[in-house]
Amino acid sequence: MSGSPRPAPVEATLTVGPAPSPAPPLVRPPRAHSLAGHVRVAAAFIVLMVLVSGVAYPALVTAIADVIDPGSAGGSLIKYPNGTVEGSEYLAQNMSAGKLGPELFWARPSLTDYNTTLGADSPPGPTDPALQALLNETIAYMKLYGNFTVNATLPFWWVAPSASSVDPDLVPEAVLVQVPRVAMNNNLTIGFVQDFVNARIVQPILPDVGVAYVNVLELDIALLEYTGNPAW
């Protein structure tokens, strides 16, 4: 984008004079449409466009998608061995709930309680006292149910609310901090669970394209499969 100021006047002389007209000279253009004429043309155009944009276009793309990547096209669903849908690879779930909670790794907190019907909620602004209250509350909850010592420090990327309210991923340090609890509740050694997690860190496809992360739902299912937990 060098706005090259090319001192040679060649370009300038080329463009002077009776400038070239791109359109063929329209000495007497055809008569304009009347207003009723415009309404007729526009109505036909809208009918055509509804068929193109609302029917043909999505149908064509769906047909192609079903052939090239039916898994993605169907929402990347994860199914129990018996075929029931457990969830989607791309949607976080409330892993800290219920009897199974203590045995699982937990995703980031959700302002909508992982309820997709509610859409996404924005966290409070940076200077809003409500933000401090929210983080304090989250940290207290995690410490109480997550088996942390009173003075433990929790990773910021774990306790901060996400943008979508259903962020399925965690940075590795946010998973590793949960290892002692998960190991204890599954009767596994800490070293083993650490290796188990480390083997499931998704590295960037190229350095610094995205970040290293762990998909919490897939990690939890892998863990249940390994321990032979009847929940899976």
Binding site: A65, G119, A120, P129, W157, S164
Partner: protein, 572 residues
């Protein structure tokens, strides 16, 4: 802590766009020239058939006034179709989730929002929109509003090279924009999105049974085809209410970079389409330069402030150090520079999609985004963004010509008071459309927060200002911060005021753009004299950039002072 090498993919992506923009802009320009071009053998006969069906002809060239009438009729009918669909949503096809009918004010806001390329929403897609609304009604506006913007740009540019007082045929411009540009690209991009993990199905909901009990509803649909045209056409509406932050609509770092590319493609190519149509390629560079300078500075500031720590959180016990950027309202899978690139491109191109929560951003980052909506032209929305930049240039050339005592002329056409009057009106209409409703909303007591009383925090003012700015700029991004400063914008007042602002902010500048183009097309082209300002130059690039920035700052200082500035200075 900040590693500059993590910026490399962001720089490479901008480099790729910069490399193909001149070529792609050339293709974009050829769509609007009466000349043979690639694809004629297949599309030519189809288009001829469509013109016969519609009852118009490429030989029917319209004056500015007639072009505007045609534009209004087509957009008006689109609006009507959407309005009726939303009000009767439960009785129309594809309503699997049982979405209720919209109230008339909400339907009014939504139809206006989609028709004006804004796509600001006052509802939650998942519970308040039927699949039919998402598949049949809204996409009509996605295509029509995007091609309307490009048609306006083409018509205005033609004014510089025509001498017969006409600007071309609106219907022909619409048909060619869709057949040669939007539809083929949207199909290809949608297929790529599917390969990157985005759903594409006519199944609406799947009930899932999570490990820990209960149920989770998974909303699906033709997400890829919707997202593709929404981003390509700078609409920015999301299939999900979380928009591009939703992991289903933007599943990975790679999809994020790809979606950023889709948003950049047309806006950054537009100056070269101009160079092609006026047949002086060198004239494209000052505009490309202006866009890259303003956009580049904005991106740098945004990234820097998202890496900064938030002092308000320094005293929270048990909170770990901030690594890899400020995480509140951000998704894990994008690196901070990539996420920021998407967000700045989205707002500066008036797409308005978001892959983060704007309300949770640092105040300076919010100000950076606001500035992009003030200029509306770096690169700005589909077609209208570049046309707005041309209005800035017309005004700048006039002022510059007066300052140095030269005849203000551009591309052999004299810049007269007529054009300057309309250009100034278009630029002034923007702050007016923000400040007037803002004052009415605040003084009239229409801003209500959860506690019910009028809030005093600067952050709430910023939210209200951001809302009207986004609507007037036809952007569509929202700063609805949660917490104590949330104000409720789904009220009859904000529905109707917002709709009025969007319609005003769309069609007043469009009329001015066509009017200016029409005035130029009535003039003979003069040979450059001694007093002609050379415009294909670095000097002109710097001049236009400074002119744009200074005029914008002067116009919007009152706006900034009320919201973000007081928030930065005073906190709260």
């Amino acid at each position: 802590m900040f590693d500059p090498s993590s910026l490399w993919d962001v720089i490479v992506l901008i480099g790729i766009v910069a490399a193909i923009a001149p070529w792609f802009g050339g293709y974009l320009g050829r769509i609007y020239m009466d000349r043979p071009m690639p694809g004629d053998s297949i599309l030519g006969p189809i288009e001829a058939g469509i013109y016969r069906l519609l009852g118009t002809s490429p030989r029917k060239s319209m004056t500015a006034a007639e072009y505007f009438v045609a534009l209004l009729v087509v957009n008006g009918m689109t609006w009507g179709f959407l309005y009726i669909w939303f009000v009767f949503q439960p009785s129309l096809p594809l309503d699997a989730t049982g979405a209720p009918a919209m109230s008339w004010t909400l339907a009014f806001h939504s139809a206006s929002s989609f028709t004006t390329n804004t796509d600001f929403t006052h509802f939650t897609n998942e519970s308040q929109l039927s699949l039919g609304s998402l598949v049949i009604a809204w996409p009509l506006a996605l295509f029509v509003s995007a091609s309307t913007g490009l048609a306006v740009m083409a018509a205005m540019i033609r004014g510089f090279v025509r001498r017969d007082g006409t600007l071309g045929n609106f219907y022909v411009d619409m048909v060619r924009t869709i057949s040669r540009l939007l539809l083929p690209l949207a199909i290809v991009f949608a297929v790529i999105l599917v390969l990157l993990g985005v759903p594409q199905t006519f199944t609406n909901t799947v009930t899932a049974y999570p490990l820990t009990g209960g149920t989770q509803t998974i909303y699906l649909g033709p997400v890829a085809s919707f997202t593709s045209i929404s981003l390509l056409g700078t609409n920015g509406g999301g299939f999900y209410s979380a928009n591009a932050a939703s992991p289903l609509a933007n599943p990975s770092a790679l999809s994020n970079l790809f979606e950023t590319f889709v948003m950049m493609l047309l806006g950054f190519s537009a100056p070269f389409a101009f160079g092609k149509i006026v047949r002086r390629r060198g004239e494209a560079w000052p505009y490309a330069g202006t866009i890259y300078i303003v956009f580049g500075i904005a991106l740098g500031l945004f990234i820097a402030y998202q890496f900064a720590t938030n002092p308000a959180l320094a005293s929270i016990p048990g909170l770990g150090p901030q690594l890899g950027g400020y995480p509140v309202g951000q998704e894990t899978r994008f690196s901070l520079p990539e996420g920021s690139l998407f967000q700045v491109v989205s707002v500066y191109s008036n797409v308005g999609a978001n892959n983060m929560q704007i309300g949770a951003l640092q105040p300076v980052s919010q100000l950076v985004l606001l500035f992009g909506m003030f200029t509306q032209s770096t690169p700005g929305g589909e077609g209208t963004g570049f046309a707005m930049l041309l209005l800035f240039a017309v005004l700048g050339i006039f002022v510059g010509g007066l300052m140095v005592g030269r005849t203000p002329e551009y591309l052999g056409k004299k810049v007269k008071t007529g054009q300057v009057r309309w250009a100034a009106l278009a630029l002034l209409s923007h702050p007016a459309a923000i400040l007037v409703p803002f004052v009415v909303a605040v003084v009239g007591g229409f801003v209500t927060v959860s506690s019910g009383s009028l809030p005093a925090t600067a952050h709430t003012f910023t939210s209200v200002l951001y809302e009207f700015t986004s609507e007037s700029a036809n952007n569509g991004s929202a700063l609805t911060a949660g917490g104590s400063s949330t104000f409720n914008d789904s009220t009859p007042f904000f529905n109707l005021a917002g709709a009025a602002v969007m319609l005003f902010g769309r069609f007043v500048p469009i009329y001015a753009m066509l009017k200016v183009g029409g005035m130029f097309s009535q003039q003979e082209t003069l040979p450059p004299g001694q007093g002609t300002l050379r415009t294909a130059s670095v000097t002109f690039t710097v001049y236009i950039t400074l002119f744009l920035v200074i005029v914008t700052v002067l116009l919007f200082l009152p706006v900034i002072a009320m919201g973000p500035l007081s928030q930065i200075v005073g906190g709260g």
